[in-house]
Symmetry: C2
């Protein structure tokens, strides 16, 4: 009883964090939530918080994971080249008209593990094409948005297969509440302090004006040239509509834009990537002039190869992010099978679309200018983890100076 009470209070606090720190919906601003149907208890609390904060309309688009699986099991072959463009276009239209976006994340990481990789790839591609108008609004930071977690039973079972389900769910909630600071009596103050720490780190890096980062580790030797006029971002940031938000709850990363043509060398992933209900592990890729020219994966190889074929931008980097191994989420030592957590446990790269907030004056620039400065464009944005206690990161300056940024996975300063 006592545990349940505590959990309910922390769920209240997570809803408050989602609205007051995450998306920060403004008075008069419509809110669109996407969520797995199991997240209903959190969605109800978030909905109340949003209406109290002055949102005139809160609409949740629930996804039933079972329906996705049913499609793969029973739909005819032509299904997998189709997507709900009408729905994504409707959402994009709402965002263009001023709505904010909140996505509740907690999908079953192995939902599609037994399904045909060819169908998965086709379905993902169709979805990416249909989703592009929304992805463009997100990557250009047109409106305030945020991702927040919800522990579904399938997610908990994937993280703690050794536990009975109820224990797995309880244990994962403990970790999720701690990582999202819902355990803090004054969660808003705790988030403000954390945002301050991340801002100090981005200020330091932005002062350096590195031209490239050099990653070294087991089976990794990679030089990532940074985009011209890149900017390090992390924690709270101001969207183009003028509203400050925290786009990820939790977040431990600082990140910026690589130059899409200036990446050289090879790199190996340190954590499996959970991607659209499948797992891709032991990714190893080699870059020449920013482009992946060799790629392999032990598990999920076919899905990974097809992901790289989506478009030219899928073979190039759109983000590079640094996370120390001492970060709260990393210290848990858990593999989350969920990018919102795993990317905050380890330094990572993302293939695909760049974010405009990773450019100086990003909120005033047009896309063509980003491209000239080295931004990448793609239907996708997929993060995968390369950080570990064996990772060394150097900052390279135009003049030839080399600064140690991370040693053994930790900040040097």
């Amino acid at each position: 009883m006592c545990t349940l009470l505590a959990q309910s209070e922390q769920l209240d606090r997570l809803a408050e964090i989602a609205i007051r720190i995450g998306v920060r919906v403004a008075e008069g601003q419509e809110l669109i939530i996407t969520a797995p149907i199991e997240a209903l208890p959190l969605v109800r609390k978030i909905t109340e918080c949003a209406y109290r904060a002055g949102s005139p309309l809160v609409t949740t688009l629930f996804t039933d994971q079972q329906a996705i699986l049913t499609r793969f099991e029973h739909a005819h072959d032509h299904s997998f080249d189709r997507s709900t463009g009408w729905l994504f276009e409707g959402m994009a239209s709402a965002f263009r008209s001023g709505a904010a976006r909140l996505a509740v994340i907690g999908e079953d990481p192995s939902l599609l593990s037994g399904q045909d990789p060819g169908k998965i790839a086709r379905a993902n591609r169709s979805r990416s094409v249909a989703y592009k108008p929304t992805l463009d609004l997100i990557s250009s930071f047109s409106m305030n948005w945020s991702l927040v977690p919800y522990v579904t039973s399938s997610w908990a079972a994937a993280v703690f297969p050794q536990y009975p389900l109820d224990k797995a769910v309880t244990r994962l909630w403990q970790i999720v509440f701690a990582a999202t600071r819902a355990t803090e009596p004054d969660a808003v103050a705790a988030w403000n302090a954390h945002n301050g720490d991340l801002r100090a780190r981005t200020s330091l890096l932005n002062g350096k004006r590195y031209s490239a980062l050099h990653f070294r580790g087991p089976d990794t030797d990679l030089r990532v040239g940074l985009a011209d006029g890149h900017k390090w971002a992390g924690g709270a940031a101001i969207a183009r509509n003028g509203i400050t938000c925290n786009t990820n709850i939790p977040t431990e990363e600082v990140f910026t834009a690589p130059h899409r043509s200036r990446v050289e060398g090879y790199v190996t992933s340190t954590r499996p990537l959970s991607y659209m209900g499948t797992t891709i592990s032991d990714i190893r890729v080699r870059f020449e002039q920013g482009r992946i020219v060799e790629a392999s994966a032990k598990r999920g190889s076919e899905i990974f190869q097809q992901l790289l074929e989506v478009d030219e931008g899928a073979r190039r980097l759109g983000e590079v992010a640094l996370v120390p191994c001492s970060s709260q989420i990393s210290r848990s030592g858990i593999l989350f099978h969920n990018t919102l957590f795993d990317e905050n446990a380890a330094s990572h790269l993302a293939l695909g679309q760049s974010y405009s907030k990773c450019f100086i004056d990003g909120s005033d620039q047009e896309k063509d200018d980003f491209r000239a400065r080295g931004a990448n464009s793609s239907l996708m944005h997929v993060d995968w983890m390369i950080g570990s206690p064996d990772l060394q990161v150097d900052g390279l300056s135009e003049g030839g100076a080399i600064d140690p940024i991370m040693r053994s996975g930790e900040w040097t300063t």
Copy 2:
């Protein structure tokens, strides 16, 4: 255990009826389902049936009744003049591109009973304006569509307040399964036979070419002129996209289009109307030249008056429907607080938008022609019940002949 098993089998059969008799989704045709979130078990079965039938994409937009209530309890005042136009426009766009529509019905009939009628009226009006593009596609029968029921606990509690909740739910499911023919081992054959019976009735009435119907009963004396070139419809019908469907599961009615300017006299409702989470009872209205010039209601009077103010068409009839008191649903003697059932238990009228399928050559005509023939147009279409064992209905012919159609609520032939 035995009851549960039977219920699960009948739910399977209801899903099959929804797809094979109700909406009859075609190979290659996208399907959009709307449903209360409690209807998830039925939605999952329907989704599987639809994929098996060759639908490439099945998308369900779930509604959480609690979120609607939360809006009324916590949203700021400006909320009630807003609606999710982006979502309705997206749906309409999908229907225009060929998608079929299936709505699962089972809302709490008294959800908003304690809320401010002014806010309810404003929210309904905003929603009606935003929904108009979809209503136009439905009323012009552009695509195959259907409504099917699901017993939510709040609906069951409203129907059987005298029972404990689990008994209320079980009892209402028994009635719903019987009314939808899910109790029949060969439900498709049973529906084909029922559609044949309704077709025989509409053929009979269409042969008569009545110019008007005369309703007489307690506190009712109403002449309803029929539209020029009206057609009686009922049971299965062919949508403009060429697909036959049953738009209501269950259905017992035959119905046609009144002439919007040729209704005279007064009429009193015989069952309460459940409208958008509120109840309107003891409606009494008087018509002159098709227009309501006096209107009252005992319960829900303010909501009813505001409904009449939505637009000019809200004061005029868009449908007249005949249902004998011996119909299976009527015989149950139950007040369902749900129009999908109550309208099939009693003859009824609808205020607002006409249906194009109630016109000869309805599938080839443009709207302007319908209007010249007496069709009504409105943001709304609201059915309310006037049938009872005390109702007499005569058919009036152009030449002055009077045919008795119903006596004491039953067909005369």
